[in-house]
């Protein structure tokens, strides 16, 4: 239906708000109708709410829409009722402000990372924290996300690993039977406490290192952030269960050595995301995975075996992510391999003056694997610890080879890995 309103012409739309006030959502209907007509076109607003003329005046002024009042129209035009019989309140001519606001706005990539072009090489700073595929207004502030290069961050496997991580979350209160009875000789319990003390500080480093990078990643790579966030949550859980086991039968933890912390601090001090990821996730957590499996198989009590099993499952995912994105990275940038090798050599040099794995931890592992002071048991324990070190070396070499290092280089670099395992 069209209505001629004399000098004001024919409105593009008629909106009869009936008794609905602008203070009760009426503005939404007008906003919608104005959005449907071109800039400069008119919506005739009818309604019976007594505050409507006042509210309409203020609202239109602030939104940049021009208003013509019935008093400015001819008698015939202003007395024509709206579609629902309400009186004419005003003619609202659509202003250009809303259109202007979204001019040159930019779509921030695509929602599905599997679709070609969804992830851009280097998202602009003004996309900021917008969700990927949102339309971002020009003039949005520049965010200082320093990790913003797709090739440095992304791996196809990220969404899959993230989903695995979600499905594999466990609750320390219910996943572990903390009341399960066991008795260990005093010295063996002491050895377990010492190993727990060592595990806690390693897990703490594994918590803070990715967290440090997490806040620097451009949210365009949301899935990578999510994965690192859940990885941090994993480590927080590990810190908890190893602490609980350490204090299960003791009032305090064991010894924390300068050399151990020195080794971990080199990870924390590594400013480059790819290098930190390589040293921590691939080499550190890779070696740690062997250690956790060793504890799962050889620890003298059921609780230590159980928590080592749970932690090892999580660590395997962390290693998988580190490997996935580094594999992509070295494929795209062949010079990357030499940089990784340099990172190992530099860390080796930095740690050369330290004692390496502290005697306390080595002895504790041996005693823990032996389970008693019996000569045969100690002999067996010693053999298991050597097997563990061999297993760690083999795994590191295998992963280095998967990243494209030659077997000789892999062997050399693996040998240079910190003696502190992580």
């Amino acid at each position: 239906m069209s209505t001629d309103l004399g000098v004001a012409g024919t409105p593009a739309k008629q909106l009869d708000l009936h008794s609905l006030g602008f203070d009760r959502g009426g503005h939404l209907l007008l906003k919608r109708d104005l959005g449907l007509v071109p800039v400069g076109a008119t919506v005739a607003v009818y309604g019976s709410d007594e505050a409507l003329p006042v509210h309409l005046r203020g609202w239109c002024r602030q939104q940049g829409h021009a208003v013509t009042w019935p008093s400015e129209l001819g008698e015939e035009a202003r007395s024509q009722p709206g579609p629902q019989g309400s009186p004419l309140v005003a003619l609202v001519r659509r202003g250009a402000a809303q259109v202007g606001r979204w001019r040159e706005a930019e779509k921030s990539g695509g929602a599905d990372p599997k679709q070609e072009g969804s992830l851009v090489e280097q998202p602009p700073a003004f996309w900021g924290v917008a969700g990927r595929s949102a339309t971002v207004e020009r003039g949005a502030p520049e965010w200082d996300f320093s990790l913003n290069e797709r090739d440095e961050l992304w791996a196809e496997e990220v969404p899959r690993i993230y989903n695995q991580a979600l499905a594999a979350q466990w609750d320390p209160n219910t996943a572990v039977d903390w009341d399960e009875p066991f008795e260990l000789p005093e010295e063996v319990e002491d050895a377990v406490v010492q190993v727990m003390t060592y595990l806690i500080e390693n897990e703490m480093a594994a918590l803070v290192v990715p967290s440090k990078f997490l806040a620097q990643i451009h949210p365009h790579f949301r899935e990578v952030m999510q994965l690192l966030a859940i990885q941090a949550a994993d480590e927080a859980r590990h810190v908890e269960v190893f602490t609980r086991r350490g204090l299960l039968k003791r009032d305090e933890l064991g010894l924390s050595t300068a050399g151990g912390q020195e080794s971990l601090k080199t990870l924390y001090d590594e400013a480059d995301f790819a290098m930190a990821s390589f040293l921590l996730s691939v080499l550190g957590e890779g070696s740690f995975l062997s250690l956790l499996r060793f504890l799962r198989d050889h620890a003298p009590d059921p609780i230590t075996r159980r928590i080592s099993h749970l932690a090892a499952q999580d660590e395997a995912r962390h290693v998988a992510f580190g490997m996935a994105h580094l594999r992509r990275h070295v494929t795209l940038d062949p010079t990357m391999r030499e940089k990784l090798a340099t990172a190992i050599r530099q860390r080796h040099a930095a740690l050369e003056h330290t004692a390496g794995l502290n005697e306390e931890v080595f002895d504790a592992l041996l005693l823990l694997a032996a389970g008693s002071w019996e000569i045969d048991a100690l002999d067996e324990g010693y053999r298991k610890v050597l097997e563990l070190k061999e297993d760690m070396d083999q795994s590191r070499r295998r992963r280095l080879e998967q990243l494209g290092f030659t077997p000789d280089d892999a062997a050399e670099l693996s040998a240079m890995h910190t003696r502190n395992f992580m």
């Binding site: 203070d23 003329p53 005046r57 203020g58 002024r61 202007g100 606001r101 207004e137």
Partner: protein, 294 residues
């Protein structure tokens, strides 16, 4: 201060002597706005700077003393500048204004259950207003009542909510306090700017359905860039053109326009100040200041 002691500045602007605009700092955002405008003007080779004042009266005095090229004036400050200039044999003119400065109205609201149905029912009641010098929340609505035969102080009591006197009601706090007094039953009516009725409803200061609009003033205009005859028309034209050229489409300038509350600048006009001129004549609010400064 008299003309004798003033030294009217050389109004040819250059890098050493930029075009100087005065504005009143009624809120911290004022600094952001004017720093932004300064950059915008300078990018267009127009040397520009600003001075912030804590009240409009000092700004008007400084303007008349030749220390500013233009002043961003409230409607009352415009009248102060115009009248003071006139008394000194000078001329003020209104330059550009915001789109949102045109065709405002004031409303007087009452509680829905108050039994006050006509303006005449306000007789013997208490009416809350904004600050003493607020055009929209005090002077214009009181003038509106006066023109309908109700004399403030004689026919009804006025309860003023003086927030930031000297800032001419730029701060909305006085209006909010007036409305809270109304809702709390301390007063019988409250005077506010039309758009604030919706705002106070949204923020919950007015419960839905708890208030009614008793009466609405005729439309009036708000701020403008006031200039005196000492700025040459060429300089004024450049200044105005740069302002009028600011586009809401421009992402660099849009946040400033949003902060300053406009979508586009408009050519100035003085036709929207009649009610406030009448209020000044009727209530004599600026006369003591004018007499002291003329």
């Amino acid at each position: 201060m008299t003309n004798d002691t003033e030294q009217v500045m050389n109004l040819k602007i250059n890098k050493e002597k930029p075009f100087l605009v005065g504005a009143v700092a009624y809120d911290a955002k004022v600094v952001t706005i004017w720093e932004g405008f300064k950059e915008y003007f300078r990018e267009r080779d127009f040397p520009f700077d600003f001075v912030l004042f804590s009240n409009y009266e000092t700004q008007v005095e400084s303007h008349l003393a030749g220390r500013l090229h233009a002043a961003w004036n409230s409607p009352l400050a415009w009248i102060e500048a115009r009248r003071l200039a006139e008394r000194r044999g000078r001329q003020a003119r209104a330059g550009v204004m915001r789109d949102t400065d045109q065709d405002l109205t004031s409303v007087i609201i009452v509680r829905s259950d108050s039994g006050i149905n006509t303006v005449a029912d306000l007789k013997g009641k208490t009416v809350a207003t904004g600050a003493l010098d607020s055009p929209q929340a005090t002077l214009i609505p009181l003038m509106h009542l006066h023109s309908q035969g109700l004399e403030p102080g004689r026919d009804f009591e006025v309860r003023r909510f003086d927030i930031m006197v000297g800032k001419h009601g730029d701060h909305v706090g006085g209006e909010r306090d007036a409305v809270e007094a109304l809702m709390g039953g301390e007063v019988d009516a409250a005077c506010i700017l039309d758009a604030n009725h919706l705002v106070f409803g949204k923020e919950g200061t007015i419960m839905q359905g708890a208030s009614r609009i008793l009466t609405q003033s005729a439309p009036f205009d708000h701020c403008n860039f006031t200039l005196l005859e000492d700025v040459d028309t060429e300089t004024e034209a450049r200044f105005s053109q740069i302002l009028l050229g600011m586009s809401y489409d421009d992402p660099k300038v849009r946040p400033l326009l949003d902060l300053e509350g406009l979508k586009q600048w408009k050519e100035g006009r003085t036709t929207g100040y009649t009610q406030l001129e009448q209020a000044c004549d009727t209530f004599g609010v600026i006369d003591p200041w004018l007499d002291a400064n003329a």
